[in-house]
């Protein structure tokens, strides 16, 4: 059943809050605007988008939230800030990567990988599991992002679900001690590893892809960790879109979500950002590994939301900087 967009007030604009890199979002929005004649207003507010949506709950401004993190979207849903969506278009995405009520849906996967500089280290030497990062022999050799980075929070939440509080805490403490640098964002990590400042770093896979396509400092490789027979698999987070409750331009928002789930948009999107489409039918950028080519942690992303606050507390207690 459709919610009958004709029942909704027709408006001429669409407001999108985005935590994603604007480079990848803007072209997509431009073509949507061109196709539909709807004026699209983008606010690239980074991670503070979530915050704004929360502050605006009595005076909703945004229609759609473009997130790079399922945890953030689920968190908003649990706070009651998202609007369910029963559009058929959602069905092409694996239920593991969308909300129960369809209020948010993942678009592309972002897998946590260890990206390394081939000039400094060979594929054999690189640690094969995340736990190995606690080994003192890597002291000062690698980079991670700050604990407050949403990809990092989500990742640690997944580890905690796998390992429990104690072991996760131990891991954080030791990794914090070993890390040669703790930086603000993944862009820093990929550029520094590419430039040979450090041997390797923990990033989302598309950062690795981006570094590969740089015209210098691009002699890098990546391994997907914990792929062994009894390994837990790599952690996959998803970027996606969410429909905001009380959206002033709800009809346009629904139209947009349907539109973006079309294969053509998926492909364009994944190609540009070099992420991997969650829709297996959509062809990925050739330099990226397809999502079915490696082992992933079997944790539904919806579970990230409820534990969000606890995880941050854990990170804080374990001494990894939340902010930089």
């Amino acid at each position: 059943t459709t919610t009958g967009s004709d029942a909704l007030e027709e408006t001429k604009e669409l407001v999108i809050y985005s935590a994603r890199n604007e480079r990848f979002v803007q072209p997509l929005l431009d073509s949507f605007a061109e196709e539909t004649g709807i004026e699209v207003k983008l606010l690239s507010a980074g991670e503070s988008s979530v915050n704004r949506i929360m502050e605006e709950k009595n005076n909703v401004q945004a229609d759609v939230f473009f997130s790079n993190d399922t945890g953030a979207m689920e968190y908003l849903r649990l706070e009651g800030l998202l609007q369910g969506n029963t559009s058929q278009a959602l069905n092409i995405i694996d239920p593991m990567y969308r909300a129960e009520d369809g209020s948010w849906v993942g678009l592309s996967a972002r897998t946590r990988v260890l990206m390394y500089n081939k000039d400094l280290i060979s594929e054999e030497e690189i640690p094969k599991t995340l736990w190995e990062l606690t080994d003192p022999k890597w002291a000062g050799e690698f980079m991670i992002t700050r604990g407050g980075n949403s990809s990092m929070v989500a990742h640690i939440a997944a580890l905690r679900a796998e390992w429990g509080d104690e072991k996760t805490k131990e891991w954080i403490e030791k990794v914090r001690g070993n890390a040669g640098a703790v930086v603000n964002g993944h862009g820093d990590v990929r550029r520094s590893v590419g430039a040979g400042e450090f041997k390797f770093g923990l990033v989302n896979n598309y950062y690795f892809h981006q570094q590969l396509s740089e015209d210098k400092d691009n002699n890098v490789g990546a391994i997907y960790p914990d792929q062994g027979a009894d390994g837990m698999g790599a952690f996959v987070n998803a970027a996606g879109v969410a429909l905001i409750k009380g959206a002033p331009n709800e009809a346009n928002a629904r139209k947009f979500i349907d539109w973006i789930l079309e294969a053509e948009q998926q492909k364009f999107f994944a190609y540009e950002s070099m992420e991997v489409p969650l829709n297996p039918a959509v062809e990925a950028n050739p330099i990226a590994m397809r999502i079915d080519e490696y082992k992933v942690m079997d944790m539904p992303l919806q579970e990230l939301g409820p534990v969000w606050v606890d995880v941050k507390k854990l990170i804080e207690e374990a001494g990894l900087d939340l902010d930089l």
């Binding site: 207003k41 606010l43 507010a45 503070s48 979530v50 929360m54 005076n59 964002g185 862009g187 939340l322």
Partner: protein, 545 residues
């Protein structure tokens, strides 16, 4: 029928009572204002201004207190000590160097025969136009781990992300605060003091130490406090240079949906800021003195002799580091960007947004500054003092905190304006109104209260006096203040980042967004345009200072 007289008596009584109350109130009101109450309009505008300034403060304190003892203790144990150390050490060191550089340059260009001193006078003020985070970007481009220096030499010479790197870049772009204010003070300086000291047989070096420096102290203090407040509130530069101060931490906390922690850190930050302001006021209190007007004589220039060469080199080096180098880097990347065709419709849109919002803010500041300042000066009372102090609070509030308060205020009480440029403009007004007030204050202090009285005795009501006498006399000062607000608002980042409505990015935001993702070719043209747009107001301001 019997009751009627009693009723009437009662009526009379209540009437009398009312009259008595009215009289008592008018008596109280007159006493409150020491017999000199302001006009209604003046009072209303001032009170509204004061209230608006109160919003972010109260928001933050309420949120912070709601945080509960546990969160406080937790933060006090873990994060606050490190943040305190980071923030205080940076503020103090940068302020110190800014004083040294600002004072020495001001003295060189105003009082010595430095070749080309007139040109230097405004060249050396130019760093004021360059947003410090842009400066940081350019230095990262050159000296960063992947910068040009590494490309040429194979290794970066030093770690720019070091404490001293941050100090260096911050100093280069904040010294103009000290420089400008001490220059102005040096121009106004009563030469008779210098001559009295020389007549007492002191050599020039001693004259400077004993008679010039102490008299410049209020100006130096005023400049220094601006530098310190800037460092405390800076977000863009420290974020770029990976150095965490309170302001940056608050911003990141926001990103983590953690309003409470952000509010708690903000309360601490406000307290630190107040501490700085208090300390500055304290040192001045001990030195409460007034320079007599003196004859406006052209100061004789001090001959530098063989020092001319080295000192010229010194000024050139500072100019090179603070203006030439950043502008060259920007020019390079801008040329890259131009060939890639980044200057499109959207780009001009951002420029217009910057111009429009900064312009509106400066207009509003010019409108609001005069009533507040005027009321403080001409209708002294507890009310005007409180309003004045409140209006200055904007100085002490980092943009992030102002933004938090404004989001709350508009969401709760003025929802129909939420999501419009009004938020950003309000933030600019709250943050930069004090700059305009200072200029207005300075201009107003040149206008003798006798002029107001002369106008009133000629039959004009207080608001007419403002229009007919005060406004024509303080307009240059107000405009100079407005120009300063414009320049500051053009550069403003943290509040703009949090408050801009969708589709209303400013140049500053674009620079930030693009540069933090490494797209220098799009950031550089925006930065250059931002600087260019600010030059005219700056020149105007300098001619008035």
């Amino acid at each position: 029928m019997n009751k009627a007289p009693i009723e009437m008596m009662k009526e009379v009584n209540t009437k009398q009572e009312q009259a008595r109350y009215t009289r008592a109130f008018s008596g109280f009101w007159l006493n409150l204002w020491k017999g000199n109450p302001p006009g209604t309009f003046l009072l209303l505008v001032s009170l509204l201004t004061g209230l608006a300034m109160l919003v972010p403060l109260s928001y933050v304190f309420i949120r912070g207190i709601q945080g509960g003892v546990d969160r406080w203790l937790n933060l006090l144990d873990t994060r606050i000590p490190i943040l305190l150390y980071n923030t205080l050490s940076l503020t103090i060191v940068v302020t110190f160097f800014a004083i040294v550089i600002g004072l020495s340059l001001a003295w060189l260009v105003i009082r010595t025969d430095l070749p080309g001193r007139k040109t230097w006078q405004w060249l050396l003020a130019l760093p004021l136009l360059i947003p410090p985070y842009v400066g940081a970007i350019t230095y990262i481009i050159i000296f960063g781990p992947r910068g040009w220096v590494r490309d040429w030499l194979g290794a970066p010479l030093f770690n720019i992300y070091d404490f001293w790197g941050v100090v260096f870049v911050l100093t280069m772009f904040t010294y103009p605060y000290v420089y400008l204010i001490t220059s102005a003070a040096l121009k106004r300086y009563n030469l008779n003091y210098e001559e009295a000291a020389r007549a007492a047989g002191l050599s020039y070096r001693h004259v400077f130490i004993k008679a010039v420096f102490p008299l410049l102290r209020p100006a130096i203090g005023a400049g220094a406090i601006l530098v310190a407040l800037y460092v405390l509130s800076d977000f863009g530069l420290v974020a770029m240079m990976r150095y965490t101060t309170f302001t940056a931490a608050i911003y990141y906390q926001m990103g983590n949906y953690d309003q409470v922690a952000a509010a708690i850190l903000s309360v601490v930050l406000i307290l630190i800021t107040l501490l700085f302001i208090w300390a500055e006021a304290k040192t001045r209190e001990k030195q409460r003195f007034y320079q007599s007007k003196g004859t406006p004589r052209q100061a004789p220039l001090i001959e530098l002799g063989w020092w001319k060469g080295p000192l010229l080199a010194y000024a050139s080096i500072i100019f090179g580091l603070a203006v030439f180098v950043p502008l060259s880097v920007l020019a390079y990347w801008a040329s890259v960007g131009l060939t890639e065709g980044v200057i499109d419709q959207r780009f001009w849109g951002f420029a217009w947004n910057s111009f429009y919002m900064a312009g509106m803010a400066s207009l509003i500041c010019m409108f609001l500054a005069l009533p507040v300042v005027y009321m403080k000066s001409r209708n002294p009372s507890i009310v005007s003092t409180v309003v004045d102090k409140l209006a200055y609070a904007g100085y002490a509030l980092p943009g992030v905190i102002v933004a938090l308060g404004i989001i709350f205020l508009f969401n709760q009480y003025i929802p129909f304006l939420y999501g419009t440029a009004a938020l950003v403009i309000t933030a600019y007004v709250i943050r930069f109104l004090p700059q305009n007030m200072q200029a207005a204050d300075a201009a107003l202090s040149q206008v003798s209260p006798r002029l107001d009285e002369a106008a009133r005795i000629s039959g004009f009501r207080p608001w007419q006096v403002i229009v007919k006498v005060i406004l024509p006399l303080v307009t240059p000062g107000l405009l100079a203040g407005g120009a300063l607000v414009f320049v500051s608002a053009m550069k403003e980042l943290p509040a703009t980042l949090l408050l801009r409505p969708p589709g209303m990015d400013t140049l500053a935001v674009r620079i930030w967004v693009d540069a933090s993702e490494g797209f220098y070719q799009t950031a550089a043209p925006a930065a250059l345009l931002l600087i260019l747009l600010s030059i005219i107001p700056l020149r105007w301001m300098l001619s008035k200072y």
